[in-house]
């Protein structure tokens, strides 16, 4: 059924179609609309046989999910930003215990300074927690990925994060095709847990493991992700066969066949990148792009296959490894081990800074001419940075940095994306 709806509502619809049994949530912008919609569906019995639990923190949200999942219930939660950090200990624990929880991340920056807008700092901070991480390009894909996520999680007994750009997707009204219940039921079988707390067959879950076995347990977690590398494309194909559209998979190339310059990115910014690629292709540039959907497991082989003929690779990152540069770039470089080409890291869209077609076009042209620094901050206001550095150099106690910059900048609404 085609419907013009908000991204969060579309995701909530997808979750409801997956017949979750326990949903727990603690509110944080921009995740709120998803769990509000689900709460309403449970209360109105539109979503039957489901417990909706309002908890006192994100740490409790994921902990309730851990208990519910271990007791054999299909379990869902959602969070963003500080919320994901607040539940960090439970994020690792859910993966370590191998519990197939699905969690939406409405991607948002991490403070300080506090910022509610979109970037990927939150989910990137948990990239090595043992969860599968899928990044949605559009609202349709966000909806579709959640349906695939439950099947993926439950086949592997591994938790899955579906990462959806906060506001840009979660709060955008777009047309989505909402599948019918019968189709989802035939794609996603009922949850049959691989381990369950059941008095008729008592098991101990979460025992202390020492040096004699810890490495093996951790290796098997890694092995699970390697299996996901095969399963994710299979599920994407099965999804296409059932629902008639492509969603998910490891990576997607766009006009990469003869491209000399290839841009790599995650999530919604790929739409803008593709438009710029089209524009530059029209002008004769040999440029293409790659959207990475599965960031964990990281598809080293698929990335290598797609990028190895390029002359240069530009990685657009909505996150920053402070003191290093890019996070996605590291994986891309690992994928290209032994291949000589130019690699550029571009930090863009931090804290909701709009990534415009004009800026990207200039950036890609500079890249094509190999006039980029190895690490570039897109649309960085060098004057403001310089002024602040000088101000801070003048006195021993210059006061807080962020507030001083805010005073100088004033409000620039056009830079809020």
């Amino acid at each position: 059924m085609l419907k013009q709806t908000e991204g969060s509502r579309a995701i909530a619809q997808a979750i409801a179609l997956c017949r979750p049994e326990v949903i727990c949530a603690y509110p944080i912008t921009p995740q709120t609309h998803i769990v509000e919609a689900l709460g309403e569906m449970v209360k109105s019995q539109e979503l039957g046989r489901c417990e909706f639990i309002n908890v006192e923190s994100e740490f409790a949200a994921l902990s309730v999910a851990i208990g519910a999942s271990a007791a054999g219930a299909r379990t869902y939660t959602a969070t963003s930003s500080q919320g994901l950090l607040f539940m960090a200990e439970a994020v690792y624990n859910a993966a370590g215990l191998g519990l197939p929880i699905v969690m939406t991340i409405g991607n948002r920056a991490i403070g300080a300074p506090i910022n509610i807008w979109n970037d990927h700092s939150d989910s990137m901070s948990m990239r090595d927690a043992g969860w599968i991480q899928l990044y949605a390009e559009t609202n349709q894909e966000a909806l579709d990925l959640h349906i695939q996520a439950f099947r993926l999680a439950e086949e592997l007994s591994c938790p899955v994060m579906v990462c959806v750009d906060g506001f840009i997707l979660t709060h955008a009204y777009d047309r989505v095709d909402i599948p019918d219940q019968g189709a989802v039921d035939s794609f996603l079988p009922p949850f049959e847990p691989r381990q369950v707390l059941d008095p008729s067959e008592p098991v101990t879950i979460g025992a202390m493991v020492g040096p004699e076995a810890f490495t093996e347990v951790r290796y098997l977690a890694h092995h699970k992700q390697l299996r996901a590398l095969k399963l994710i494309p299979q599920l994407s194909s099965a999804f296409k066969a059932k629902f008639g559209r492509s969603s998910g998979g490891l990576i997607r190339g766009y006009r990469v066949a003869d491209a000399e310059t290839i841009v790599v990115a995650l999530g919604s910014v790929n739409g803008t990148i593709q438009e710029v690629v089209d524009e530059m292709r029209d002008a004769g540039a040999k440029i293409g792009s790659v959207s990475i959907c599965s960031f964990r497991p990281f598809p080293l082989a698929a990335v290598r296959d797609t990028l190895h003929r390029a002359k240069r690779v530009v990685v657009i990152e909505k996150c920053l490894a402070v003191g290093l540069g890019g996070i996605v770039s590291d994986g891309v470089r690992k994928a290209l081990s032994g291949i000589v080409l130019k690699g550029y890291t571009v930090i863009a869209g931090l804290g909701g800074r709009a990534i415009t077609r004009a800026s990207l076009k200039q950036l890609f042209e500079d890249a094509t001419n190999d006039e980029l620094e190895q690490v570039t901050f897109l649309d960085l206001n060098a004057d403001i940075v310089q002024h602040e550095l000088e101000r801070e150099a003048k006195t021993r106690r210059p006061g807080p940095t962020a507030e001083a910059i805010l005073r100088r900048v004033g409000t620039v609404a056009s830079q809020i994306g």
């Binding site: 489901c50 902990s63 208990g67 379990t75 098991v203 979460g206 025992a207 004699e212 076995a213």
Partner: protein, 328 residues
């Protein structure tokens, strides 16, 4: 033939011997059909009050739940000594997730049982005082206020024993721990700190709150059994001496627990929906010194000369409990 006097009570205690009682009046633990939910072979220290308390509590809960029980466990001594990989003492479905989230994990299990129409499967959460009164306090309070169908049992040995005896918010005044050393002015833990979680639990208005002691195991079993007959959030706080952390003899665990009760330092009471409904009267009141002297963590109070002023402050705590809960 010479007459033998019948010893109805064990020497020095008020404990009725099980063999002198009718079959149906005997404790769960005295019954051959007890489940041994936490089985032998675990790695607890000699004289561990927590192992004893957990054994009685969980077996009583199992009987009350007709063996349909799932337990969530906080990180801590009980978790570590009961599950040395690849062995486990637990004969019931049991999960350990983290230190501070046990109440929430139990809430999740209870939600799963509710949604699956398996409400006859009951859920217990358990942790030490650190996992309950400190790091797990947020999740505990959340579980209470939602009135989730969980019995939470706190085994209170008054410090972080698993990490090497550091102070918790349940550590009593003057007690020596690794982080409240017996040096300097006013050695040991400071006065006027700490929190009373049973009273805080009562403030949530939950259906049932009780304190219990390993010195009174029949009473402990009775309280667990009563709690298992109620739906909603329930809390039992059990005082469990720790020979290692308290510097006491393993053989004195029960004795010390009893002196804590009889001195008034650990009042035994029950409450329903925020109102106290019962208390265990003190039979032979003893001065707090009798309790403190058996523990090296208080040894600095008994130097030459003894710290009379601070001992009086501890006695005052006991007197306040006695007056507040009507223990005499």
């Amino acid at each position: 033939m010479e007459m033998q006097p019948v010893k109805f009570y064990q020497t020095g205690t008020f404990t009725v011997g099980n063999r002198l009682l009718a079959e149906q009046e005997r404790s769960v633990q005295a019954n051959m059909d007890r489940t041994n939910s936490i089985n032998s072979g675990h790695r607890a220290c000699q004289g561990c009050g927590e192992a004893l308390g957990a054994r009685y509590a969980i077996d009583a809960a199992m009987r009350a739940a007709r063996n349909q029980l799932i337990a969530a466990n906080a990180t801590g001594c009980l978790e570590v000594f009961s599950t040395p990989y690849p062995e486990t003492s637990w004969q019931i479905p049991w999960i350990h997730s983290l230190f501070g989230n046990t109440a929430a994990v139990a809430s999740g299990i209870a939600a799963a049982m509710r949604v699956k129409g398996r409400r006859h499967v009951r859920v217990i959460a358990q942790g030490g005082d650190g996992g309950t009164t400190d790091i797990g306090f947020g999740c505990l309070s959340g579980m209470f206020e939602r009135n989730d169908d969980v019995l939470y049992i706190c085994y209170d040995n008054e410090a972080y024993m698993n990490t090497g005896v550091q102070r918790s918010s349940a550590t009593p005044a003057a007690a020596r721990t690794a982080t409240t050393p017996a040096v300097g002015h006013d050695p040991g833990n400071v006065f006027g700190q700490g929190k009373n979680v049973p009273l805080i639990a009562m403030a949530h208005g939950i259906p049932y709150v009780a304190t219990a002691s390993v010195a009174n195991l029949r009473d402990l079993e009775r309280k667990v059994t009563f709690a298992m007959g109620i739906d909603g959030a329930r809390y039992i706080h059990i005082h469990v001496p720790c020979p290692l952390g308290w510097g006491s003899l393993p053989a004195d665990t029960i004795k010390i627990a009893r002196l804590a009760v009889e001195s008034g330092l650990f009042p035994l009471f029950e409450a329903e929906h925020g109102e106290i409904t019962g208390r265990t009267k003190i039979r032979h009141k003893v001065p707090v010194e009798d309790y403190l002297r058996l523990q090296k963590r208080f040894a600095h109070l008994f130097g030459d000369p003894p710290e009379r002023a601070r001992l009086a402050l501890i006695q005052a705590v006991a007197e306040r409990n006695i007056a507040r809960f009507g223990l005499l």
